[in-house]
């Protein structure tokens, strides 16, 4: 972040800016296209040109029986997302607080969490499903499926909490204790409120990572699919823009969640740096 003394931009700025702009286009362009194509006319195909504009394919998703249990899958993915979000935020908050001190087993637990990110998802899915098999338990989306999702969200949550706690000053907790607060009061009145934006970030990761997760879910959900699994099935056997329509719907949910998280964080930051004027 160099505040260089010359105030005029050199040629390199414009070249790099153009490159960056192209990259952003590269990132968002394709998605934008399928959003547009999801409003394809009833006679239209998977590519351009658009033959009319309609919400036909959205209705098709809803009403047709060709696409499997999309409604149920959607519901299950949402529920799993919320469960994963809550569990990840709570577990990673306390774990990161614990990691501030040295304790026996800290290294192995940390590395095992990282290993979960490195191994292919499907391997973990195989392991969990076979483990259940061996133990004689039935695979179900809300147990083995949830477990598989947690194996993905917990390491991310932990890493983010580490980054958040890096900026956290332990003297706030000391000051609270000095004022007579018990450990639970310190947590409730000082630690969690101050860390709240970070917790929102962890919650965001927890929800979206679970909501979009596919490789680990494949083998562990049991009989009822989650939405990403249904969509991945559709890529091979659906040849209509209904595929794009479901893509638009699920992306809309993702964007909504992202927007809520960003808004929440922004509001809190604003509150902490600006006055509530005139409330004397």
């Amino acid at each position: 972040m160099s505040q260089s003394t010359p105030t005029r931009r050199g040629a390199d700025f414009y070249i790099l800016a153009a490159f960056f702009g192209l990259f952003v286009l590269f990132l968002y362009g394709p998605m934008l296209m399928i959003f547009i194509l999801s409003f394809q006319g009833p006679t239209g195909g998977l590519t351009f040109p658009m033959r009319g504009v309609s919400t036909h394919w959205f209705h098709d998703l809803w009403s047709s029986s060709r696409y499997g249990d999309l409604g149920g899958a959607f519901r299950r993915s949402l529920i799993l997302g919320v469960m994963a979000m809550l569990i990840t935020a709570t577990v990673c908050l306390f774990a990161a607080l614990g990691f501030r001190r040295r304790f026996w087993g800290a290294g192995p637990i940390f590395y095992l969490s990282i290993i979960s990110l490195i191994v292919p998802g499907i391997l973990l899915g195989l392991g969990i499903s076979q483990l259940f098999q061996i133990l004689g338990l039935r695979l179900s989306w809300w147990l083995s499926g949830l477990g598989a999702h947690l194996s993905w969200t917990l390491p991310f949550g932990l890493l983010i909490m580490f980054a958040v706690l890096n900026r956290f000053d332990g003297s706030w907790e000391e000051a609270a204790r000095d004022a007579g607060a018990h450990p639970w009061q310190v947590l409730r009145l000082v630690t969690v409120p101050i860390l709240f934006p970070g917790l929102i970030a962890v919650a965001l990761f927890g929800f979206t990572l679970s909501y979009d997760e596919m490789p680990r879910s494949l083998l562990t959900v049991g009989g009822k699919n989650t939405l990403p699994i249904e969509i991945s099935n559709m890529t091979t056997n659906v040849t209509t823009p209904a595929l794009y329509a479901i893509g638009t719907v699920t992306s809309a949910v993702s964007f909504l969640v992202i927007a809520l998280a960003f808004a929440g964080i922004a509001i809190i930051q604003r509150q902490r740096s600006r006055a509530k004027r005139g409330k004397n």
Partner: protein
Amino acid sequence: MSARSPGSGSQLTPYLQVAPLALLILALVGIPIGTVFMLSFWESDGISVYPAFTWQNYHDVLTASVTLSLFANTLKYAAIVLVATVLIGFTCSYFLVFHVRNLKWQIGLFLLCTIPFWTSNVIRMVSWIPFLGREGLFNQMLMQAGLISQPLDILLYSDFAVVLTYIHLFTLFMIVPIFNSMAKINPNLIEAARDAGANPFQILTGIIIPLSKTGIALGSIFVVTLVMGDFFVVRVMSGGQSASVVSAMKNEIDQLFYPQASAMAVLLVLVVVLMVSAILRVVDIRAELAR
């Protein structure tokens, strides 16, 4: 007199705090990986799986000629994607950190890059199909501009499409750690170098690249493990023509050959761990994560 600090709780506190995570990670990661490892020594006849201890699966995997070509193919993808993501990720991070002066813009543009990460990878992959196909937008544009007379076939359902999709999905994993490393570079270092007469290229190679090493290493670990572990992109975007180690694994799983798939999985993990260790020689990750 005990040396306990009454302020920060008993010695037991960190154990209680980490216990939920420890139990979950053990149960959901540690034991399943162990299960797969154990499975790799079992037997299967395509119908059910029998507990046993045999090296047969490893023998089969290691002697099959297709194994080598699978690894070669997957490693080929990993190498190309790695180079591309490093170049693109480095350039974008460099732009954001050193050329965007307003902090709010910096963070805003950075977040702009990260938002797609929070949407579905499957959808992002699928979104390339209308663009790259024979009747896709790109071909149409090229034909209208008169650059080509026949639509290009190699854009979709090819190695090109696979690599392109990997780059699209995974460049972010390179941008985030490199951005992080670059942002920590003390601007005074660059001022001092300029004072001493260094030109921008020298500053880049002498200061910025060395100090971004950690970020590049971290990003490389992410990209390499993600490409090596993929089975979906390679299958769809190559139109079924190409395969990766994990996609072959998935085939075996579909046919209930769990032990064989597990042996291949163990082999893959070994190769990936070797690659990660090689990258880790360059940098101390623990210290970096703690900063």
